[in-house]
Symmetry: D2
Subunit: 247 residues, 4 copies
Amino acid sequence: MASKSFYALVAGVGAGTGRATALRFAQKYPVVLLARRPESYEQVVADIKKEGGHAVGITADVADPSTLKAAFESISKELPGSQLAAAVYNVNGGFAKKPFLDLSIEDLDSSIDGTVRAFFHFAQATLPLLLDSVPNSPHPPTLIITGATASIKGSAEFGSFAAGKWALRALGQSLAREFGPKGVHVAHAIIDGVIDIPRTKQWAVNGGVEDGKIKPEAIADAYWYLHTQHRSAFTQEIDLRPFVEKF
Amino acid sequence: MASKSFYALVAGVGAGTGRATALRFAQKYPVVLLARRPESYEQVVADIKKEGGHAVGITADVADPSTLKAAFESISKELPGSQLAAAVYNVNGGFAKKPFLDLSIEDLDSSIDGTVRAFFHFAQATLPLLLDSVPNSPHPPTLIITGATASIKGSAEFGSFAAGKWALRALGQSLAREFGPKGVHVAHAIIDGVIDIPRTKQWAVNGGVEDGKIKPEAIADAYWYLHTQHRSAFTQEIDLRPFVEKF
Amino acid sequence: MASKSFYALVAGVGAGTGRATALRFAQKYPVVLLARRPESYEQVVADIKKEGGHAVGITADVADPSTLKAAFESISKELPGSQLAAAVYNVNGGFAKKPFLDLSIEDLDSSIDGTVRAFFHFAQATLPLLLDSVPNSPHPPTLIITGATASIKGSAEFGSFAAGKWALRALGQSLAREFGPKGVHVAHAIIDGVIDIPRTKQWAVNGGVEDGKIKPEAIADAYWYLHTQHRSAFTQEIDLRPFVEKF
Amino acid sequence: MASKSFYALVAGVGAGTGRATALRFAQKYPVVLLARRPESYEQVVADIKKEGGHAVGITADVADPSTLKAAFESISKELPGSQLAAAVYNVNGGFAKKPFLDLSIEDLDSSIDGTVRAFFHFAQATLPLLLDSVPNSPHPPTLIITGATASIKGSAEFGSFAAGKWALRALGQSLAREFGPKGVHVAHAIIDGVIDIPRTKQWAVNGGVEDGKIKPEAIADAYWYLHTQHRSAFTQEIDLRPFVEKF
């Protein structure tokens, strides 16, 4: 009988971290991409195929358990018998930088919903699959969470965004402590800087110096490294920032 | 004309921190107590009156903006012309210690709702009043938040609780940075231990040693100290734990 | 028989924190002041006496075990039978803000010697006395350490200073964990701002706004509060900063 | 003219991290090993040569500037024209786990000398060389520091060890902020567990479970990954611990 095959799953795919991560993991695994709209993943799927990889795009809202459930049913059909080796949570909730008294409860909810609540659903759907993969996965099954500067600092006027990101980090840390001993690696990455994507092209960041914005490919390398860590040396948290970033 | 009078507000009053804080602040201010059920505050109001203080109990759910709004209308009638000197947020969300895969989304929501969402409403209601008090308040107007061990550590099987508490801490830190320069003191207390209340009487904590559980009165002293800090030396965060507590 | 008497000890007395702390604790205890040069404590001793307190100034270098030993012999003669209730370590090592490659090893040693090495001697001299005081002291015997922003952040060009301050914080945290359960309260204060003393009078800090520099008296209040905490609710670490300070 | 060649330098070579790191970097660079005694590096040099790599062992005490200076003179002769691509500081100071009152000042000094003072000399010797390598190095020139659990926690009876390790971390963080913008990557690794080496073979760690001790090769992989990070995404700090480790 052929050896079990494994796939990677990336939730939250746009022009930056999600795309680069999908391309990186596609060098080794078939990759499933989840996004709310097909236009977010279609080009990435095409790019992966062009490089000889295998990619499946699925339209789903991670914050919505019913579409998430349907997504996993689609995966079973698209990749029958394949097991989950790595799940990357790269979804952001609503972002509002405003004086606190100008925030609405909807601003807070949008942050909470899109970060920690959606992650809750994602983690409940993926952790059982990752546990199943422990015995045979080429690397320890991995759940990677994308964080930000706001994951560790509650800056003025960033309250609603920081609330969601801190909650996400808390839950991730709790899962690392619960599932690490079962062989699943849960890691959190603090992306401490502006990512270099088309949308930020004109942003004057760090004086406009070359490499003053984070290359998505460098984040993807970090995620791949985290995934391939030996289980005797798991990283729970890593920070990534441009060489010129103030911190 | 008589000098302006000031009052203190305590949200979340039971047998422990809320009660002791209300009694402590009542030595100086009229105190308003908010709780979801009258039986939570009635005895405290009576105790304060017995000691010669002034107390008003109001039934309100901090998580519900409409009852919160009604509460402030009641305060205006009960304490006309009085200004807010200190607001203490001592509300807890739902607590569930469970393996992650046994948690429901309702467990997470209950934690989030009762901690950071309810605090959001409470802060939006109280910060404008605290800002108004800056020029005349006997001490810098203060917003105090009750945190816990889970505010800084995401332990295994504590994920939903930690998510709410971290989010609360993040928002509090953001408010401290925004409102400190305007003269309002926002402080967060990490209560790192079991509180000594009737419900915990039989709990074998720290080997049952005397003072191995935190006296609510000691927390109240900390809150009073925070409130009376000079604005040239605000504390943003304080930890409180029994002398024998492991940390 | 008369009840045991208790005294407080302040190491490192100049125009700021040490002076204010000595004055504050002198409201309750006889106070012993240690400084390397008599001119550092003479005026403080006079000020305490003017207010009706009892103060003893002793010339000693905390970093030098022999002068420290002599100091405790002097204390025994000056305050026979008196026990140590509180010891405040307010000594700073050498400070050098320089590009790292311009630092000499003497810059590092000066920081290390004056912070963590001197504290090591001070703690070894005072902890046995504080342990002796546990049964009868009016408040839990207390060892308070003055820290700074550099205790928690290694900023560029602050390497040698931060090394000493972090080492001091580490040792203080270790002592809190070892001696707390024995009844001695070890606390560390992060003084996060410029202190308002004659030497800093002309410094344009926080836009020159009133109370933009920390009042030494406010630090002294914090230290007194820490000393008087109930042992069921010890604070290990407190931060103090002006309301307008960026952090 | 041929392109410049580059070498890696590992200070502190024994049976664990230093050895594995040297072997790992030797896959790409000639490696220089520093140790106080030839028997610490001789076998590693032989192992590297057996695998086709180039290794030079030099007897030097990093804590002693004169032997360190002589070491760099030897390097110039052994590897003429070669530039420094990566320097790994893997030296430990004296370790003493004792009740604080049983510690001697020599215990503290031994920790300080072997961690932060020796690192100071090592950093002053290597940073100018790393700066020189910025324009041509295949990866951003890197200075990697080996930390431990005690780098972030001052446990009871670990005071002297933690003091040295915190000071080392502080200095490393300061250097990251100063030299990062100049193109040199300074990273600190928290090795949070027992390393799997002959000396720890019999230690019952984490219940004796397989991979409950950290494989030195896994640490070496982390260091190699840190060295190869793109400068738009430097990691300042990474933690590494066995999957079953409590934290």
